[in-house]
């Protein structure tokens, strides 16, 4: 009798529960993947605010560390047809999904006000064949970090604080460092690894060569006389002891590690935020103001701030596109970006709207970008990752002496053209 009553009660409870659930109405649940890898308070606030304004939508967030693991998780999701509705990742790892035809074009989703507020060149860099594939969240530029203590010890007197170094004056400073007692290198180059290709490109840009022109990789000038000169200069610097040997095997992380340990004086860094963090920790003591906007460069080579990417938010095609776009737009609204900016968790970067204050160090670079344009790595091209890999191989062949600088760069240009055939 007791067992029978209990069974009836359980069944009733189940029916009631389902009934109440259905009476409450269909709630949209959006799966949202972010690449922070940690729980960001400002992001939770943005989500809470959105859910408050949209009580029929619930956001189910998953924080994944950005990078290879995240890409593979997305790959499995796409292959199985079980993608999140919205995701945030580094733009270079968002763009490839456009070419898989799984992202929603966002062109017609922005108001006139939005279009006026977003940084125009940034929107262009998030566009492929006229389609806006993601909303930009923030972006970063490459920067220098360095060791002022060593420079002073080397007798470099005029260490610029607010202006660009003349290329020859900069070379003089390098000469002084290399003559110092002890094992110090003025520079470090690295050609091993799958990141920090920006840094190598900076060395080419110093001489006026660039990876591609007008968005066309087949128009690379890396194998131009300027590009060849740049690579020959790097090889010469290593041979003369201005940079550690074994460039083909040194990774970006190692290079930065050498700078932090005070073994190397100057180094490029992929992003200003990373350099700022190492500065705040006291691992380096010099971030020249010019570092984000004007590198030493040969006469005639215009300084072009290199856009190294940043985070973007995109929407996968699916049944809940409308709600997903709504959330994605909210994520990059002025209010949300102000929250992110105020949190301090995303320091040293510039957010995608002009209404959000730009860090001082980046203001000048934005002025130069407005004048000379933003250099970019082709983050929104279909073969971005392969191009990076080919670039490393070309550098490695030149640094190991398997080929001359010209031969290696010519082979690289040939392979680039073959990719686009």
């Amino acid at each position: 009798m007791f067992r029978k009553s209990l069974t009836i009660l359980l069944v009733l409870g189940l029916v009631l529960g389902l009934g109440i659930g259905s009476l409450a109405g269909e709630k949209i649940v959006l799966d949202f993947w972010t690449s922070w890898g940690a729980d960001m308070a400002w992001e939770n606030e943005v989500i809470a605010e959105f859910e408050k304004e949209n009580p029929d939508i619930t956001i189910r967030k998953e924080s994944i560390i950005g990078g290879t693991g995240y890409t593979q998780k997305l790959m499995l999701a796409v292959a199985s047809g079980n993608t999140p509705d919205v995701f945030v990742e580094y733009v270079g790892r968002v763009a490839p999904w456009w070419f898989q035809d799984v992202l929603v074009p966002l062109n017609d989703t922005l108001t006139e006000e939005d279009l006026a507020d977003f940084i125009p060149s940034l929107l262009e860099l998030h566009t492929i064949d006229g389609n806006l594939f993601a909303y930009p969240h923030f972006f970063d530029l490459r920067a220098w970090g360095g060791n002022k203590t060593l420079l002073e010890r080397a007798g470099v007197i005029d260490i610029p604080e607010g202006i660009s170094w003349d290329f020859d004056a900069w070379l003089d400073a390098l000469d002084k460092v290399v003559q110092m007692e002890g094992d110090y290198y003025p520079l470090v180059f690295f050609a091993n690894g799958r990141s920090c290709d920006y840094i190598t490109l900076m060395n080419f840009q110093m001489f006026g060569a660039s990876l591609y022109q007008d968005g066309d990789y087949t128009k690379t000038t890396l194998n131009s006389p300027e590009g060849v000169r740049a690579l020959e200069w790097m090889i010469e610097m290593v041979a003369k002891g201005y940079a550690p040997k074994g460039v083909a095997g040194i990774s970006c992380g190692e290079g930065l590690g050498m700078i932090k340990r005070g073994l190397v004086v100057f180094g490029w860094c992929p992003d200003l935020q990373l350099i700022q963090n190492t500065f705040d920790k006291g691992e380096i003591d010099y971030i020249p103001e010019f570092s984000v906007w004007e590198t030493p460069h040969v006469a005639g080579a215009p300084p072009v701030p290199l856009y190294t990417g940043g985070n973007a938010i995109a929407v996968f095609k699916g049944d809940q596109e409308e709600a997903a776009i709504k959330f994605a737009k909210f994520y990059v609204s002025q209010e949300s970006l102000e929250k992110a900016n105020a949190s301090g968790d995303v320091g040293g970067v510039s957010f995608s709207r002009q209404s959000i204050p730009i860090p001082d160090g980046m203001r000048r670079s934005m002025e130069i970008a407005a004048k000379n344009g933003l250099g970019d790595l082709g983050l929104n091209s279909p073969y971005y990752l392969e191009v990076r890999d080919l670039q490393y191989v070309a550098l490695q062949k030149a640094f190991t002496g398997q080929m001359t600088a010209k031969e290696a760069l010519d082979e690289f240009a040939e392979k680039l053209s073959a990719l686009w055939k």
Binding site: T71, N192, G246, G249, I250, G257, V393
Partner: protein, 295 residues
């Protein structure tokens, strides 16, 4: 008649089949089915979502690609150095350890086994610094004996050797444990009898130890060989396949083509070729060495 006999036998042994069914299902789902699909995929030009039948085009493109032959060469060079090194060293070290007192045996086995339980990524990151040409530990040790610094990860042959050294340090532990178990099973009376007959330690090692651990040697040889052809993690972290493809192995290239460039058809072709190589190798080893087994 034959079919009826088979069916009768299955019916008679149905409980046994029932018990092995879950494992069979797992093996089928996670081994045979992906294997067949992988072979099938090698005949397609396949991205993440699109798929076009191309027949043997992928194969002909692969055999015409100079990079494939370089990958194969790298794989064979690394395997040729690694396999005898790992097998020989494991046996030697296990033979030495077994002569210590028990507490020391436990200590040394634990010490050698530690890399096995450490993440491969962590080990690779540590070795990156050990191999640093300017500030690395290895070049520092070499400088103490007046040897010029080696560009470990920055030049072709040293980079291959660096990969071998890393995998070697990682693989020893488990094999030492296997050999220790095998050595413990050899009756001490055999060594005593040999000593009474005047055999020295080297003779005892070659005439008694090696023949009697041959079953374990066969196992370790096959497992090490299979592992040597599947090196991805170490290459990915340590060298990225460089410098200039010097350490790009077939397995690493499969990963690159499939998971980095989304070219699954081309990745599958290389996977099929690798399967054939590893299978042939394992088959030959088994055929040759199993004849030398003694119990």
């Amino acid at each position: 008649m034959e079919v009826r006999r088979v069916l009768h036998r299955i019916k008679k042994e149905r409980s046994a089949y029932f018990f092995i069914m879950p494992t069979l299902l797992l093996v089928f789902t996670f081994t045979f089915y992906p294997l067949v699909q992988g072979i099938r995929l090698s005949f397609f030009k396949a991205g993440l979502r699109e798929r076009t039948w191309v027949g043997f085009q992928n194969y002909s493109e692969l055999f015409r690609d100079p990079l494939f032959w370089l990958e194969l060469k790298n794989t064979l060079i690394i395997a040729a150095i690694l396999i005898p090194l790992v097998v020989g060293s494991s046996l030697l070290i296990a033979s030495l350890i077994v002569q210590f007192k028990k507490p020391w045996q436990i200590f040394f086995r634990g010490a050698f086994y530690l890399p096995v339980v450490t993440s491969g990524v962590v080990i690779s990151m540590v070795w990156i610094w050990i191999f640093n040409p300017t500030y690395g530990l290895l070049n520092h040790i070499l400088s103490l004996v007046n040897i010029e610094p080696v560009m470990w990860l920055g030049t072709t042959n040293p980079a291959r050797l660096a990969v071998v050294i890393l995998i070697f340090s990682w693989s020893l532990g488990a094999n030492i444990i296997y050999y220790s178990a095998s050595l413990a099973a050899i009756p001490k009376t055999m060594y005593e009898a040999a000593m009474m007959d005047g055999a020295n330690s080297l003779q005892r090692f070659f005439k008694i130890t090696i023949p009697l651990v041959m079953p374990m040697t066969l196992f370790i040889l096959m497992m090490t060989s299979i592992g040597a052809f599947q090196i991805v993690e170490a290459v990915y972290i340590l060298t990225g396949g460089g410098p200039a493809y010097a350490t790009t192995t077939v397995a690493f290239r499969i990963y690159q083509l499939g998971f980095r460039y989304f070219r699954f058809g081309q990745a599958s072709v290389q996977a099929v070729i690798l399967l054939m190589i590893v299978f042939s190798f394992a088959f030959l080893q088994f055929r040759y060495l199993s004849k030398k087994l003694e119990f």
